[in-house]
């Protein structure tokens, strides 16, 4: 057996310990995240613009140092169905970032302030740099993270979700993770560079509690005016706000999608009704002449 095939045999064994709809997270340890209420739940759910703006602030001031948003452009922030910043705000915001451009006429690369059409610059130039700065772990990009995380729903909940429209496994998990840091229970040893988290699969996560940037050890806000709009500053609120922002980043066309869907459904139901009546009418021709269908 070659190394490759032995490796693949191991992969098949790994694949054999399968759980339906439990990507990445089902491995032992890690509580089921509690359900949160979301403004974007259900066929008519939309994003809460103020929440997205608060969430963006959290992302920018807490997460962005390590986690990229490389598939999102600055211009997206002012597009409909998103945080709805003004174009002027986005222009100013983009200008605070530096991006590499070029080559210029001399054949040299140069740095310039970002424009709304640019994507968010990566926090690290490459995976190696990210590893070197983070104890060997690469902080994942956040562009689609809200769709890339899940937890096992189990049968029959999983099937009922089709009707109840529950599809917020990702957001619920992310929120839970952010508020799930705590002291390890007695007897659990957490190695250096790892942190105990109630909801993380295996409970030991490389990322330190990111919300210490907002709240001190006693749970008091570092800056009482962190939210200028007067929203109560709690851990759960901050976690939910940044999660909602990440959901938007992963699915920026969600509002357009649902709006289109409602229209499509309306027309399909109407068309089905008309076709049903037409069908009845045509087939009723057979009622009285069983022998002369042709």
């Amino acid at each position: 057996m070659t190394i490759v095939s032995r490796f693949l045999a191991a992969a098949i064994v790994a694949g054999s310990s399968v759980a339906l709809a439990a990507p990445a997270l089902a491995a032992g340890g890690g509580e089921k995240p509690p359900r949160q209420s979301w403004s974007f739940y259900g066929p008519f759910g939309t994003f809460d613009k103020a929440q997205l703006q608060r969430g963006f602030k959290v992302y920018r001031e807490v997460c962005a140092a390590c986690h990229g948003l490389e598939k999102v452009s600055f211009r997206n922030l002012s597009e409909p169905g998103g945080p709805s910043f003004t174009e002027g705000q986005v222009k100013m915001l983009a200008a605070e970032y530096k991006v590499m451009d070029g080559p210029n006429e001399q054949g040299e690369m140069f740095e310039r302030p970002a424009r709304p059409s640019d994507r968010f610059p990566k926090p690290f130039p490459n995976a190696e740099a990210a590893k070197a700065a983070n104890n060997g772990a690469v902080p994942p990009d956040f562009s689609v993270i809200a769709k890339a995380r899940s937890y096992e729903r189990g049968f029959p909940t999983y099937v009922l979700d089709i009707l109840t429209q529950y599809q917020q496994q990702g957001p619920d998990y992310i929120t839970a993770l952010l508020i799930g840091y705590e002291e390890p229970p007695a007897g659990v040893k957490v190695e250096d560079g790892l942190h105990y988290n109630r909801y993380f699969p295996g409970n030991k996560i490389a990322m330190a509690n990111p919300l210490v940037a907002v709240f001190d050890d006693a749970g008091k806000p570092q800056d009482p005016n962190f939210y200028p709009d007067g929203t109560p500053l709690t851990r759960l609120q901050v976690a939910k706000d940044v999660t909602a922002f990440l959901m938007w980043a992963a699915e920026p066309k969600m509002e357009e999608r649902k709006r289109t869907g409602v229209k499509v459904m309306f027309w399909l139901i109407l068309l089905a009704g008309l076709l049903f009546m037409l069908k009845k009418r045509i087939w009723s021709r057979l009622d009285d002449m069983p022998a002369k269908a042709h």
Partner: protein, 434 residues
Amino acid sequence: MGEHHSTYVPKTGIERWVDARLPIVRLMHDSAVSYPVPRNLNYFWTFGGILMLMLVSQIITGIVLVMHYTPHVDHAFQSVEHIMRDVNYGWLMRYAHANGASMFFIAVYIHIFRGLYYGSYKAPRELLWILGVVIFLLMMATAFMGYVLPWGQMSFWGATVITNLFSAIPVVGESIVTWLWGGYSVDNPTLNRFFSLHYLMPFMILGVVVLHVWALHHVGQNNPSGVEVKNYAKDTVPFTPYATVKDLFAMVCFLMVFAWFVFFHPNFLGHADNYIPADPLKTPAHIVPEWYFLPFYGILRAVPDKLGGVLAMFASIALLAFLPWLDTSKVKSGAYRPAFKIFFWVFALVCVLLGYAGSQPTDKAVLTLGGRVVLDMVGFGQILTIYYFAHFLVILPLLGLFEKPLQLPASIADSVLASTGHGHPAGAHASPEK
């Protein structure tokens, strides 16, 4: 109904001129307008048309997606996100295509089980049935390769696990896998050839569908009574308007289910892991195939030996092609076979449970007695697998010999009369007889 004569009458001079040189309008008229269909067909017979709709939908959305997709390991994931974010209605094209694959399989499974229940594989429809099995195989290959294209974690690892199955072949297995990959692991050459084949195969499906429909129109449709058409005037209705309007209504109902997923639940049928870019150095905790492959995956895992598992999995599909000769009953329709009816539903349940077994961890307990695991998922899968094969190889051959079927109706018209008490077909509006 090959003997069904053409009723097309060209009306204008141009039509006569064309008809004398290329009778294409006549062909269309004969196969979509005057083509006689049994008058007692129920709504399970609308799934052929629904499948045609899904094939066309997949091809159209697929062609648009290809205009924006980049088949390269460094760009594939990014280009899919580009489609989702920057292409006008790109999200619609992609979600319609991804969910469309699942809808295609839902429809094909209903279509297949309809055939199984009503004995649609029996003479003279053996070739029609075998062509259907070929389409099913092509669909599976197409769907598998399509799932690889977004180049997420599940794309990469699914491709790795499934292509590696071929290494179970003695002596040449490893060489075949290297040949499939175009290298020593799933990499850019693999992605490129999967993309090429994923674009080719739907057109192969289309070709076999043409043969499938040709065979259908030659032998005529089976029907819920399983009795062949005896008198065209009494037993059949013209395709247009009767079947046309019924198929259209069914299609629109099906589209509503489709739209529910596309617009309101687009990622339900996918895996969260596939939103993580492929990483050859990081194996996901659980590698799961798409839901429509799970019963076959269940069979694969039930056999402890790797080669045996692969053979069992392929045999479970290949077996379908021999069904016309394995079922020894002279009676087609399950409606007139009391014992078969029970075995049919048991078989359907076994298929669903096989899918469940395929989705669960192998060491998960299924049955515990006094705190001791009596049956785990592997054992459960083995029982189900044995039953799956026994259904085709033991139950169906014997059932035909020992079962006492019910009295068949003399004709389709008679069966309609018997089922409604009126002279009109089931499904049509009932009105008192005059």
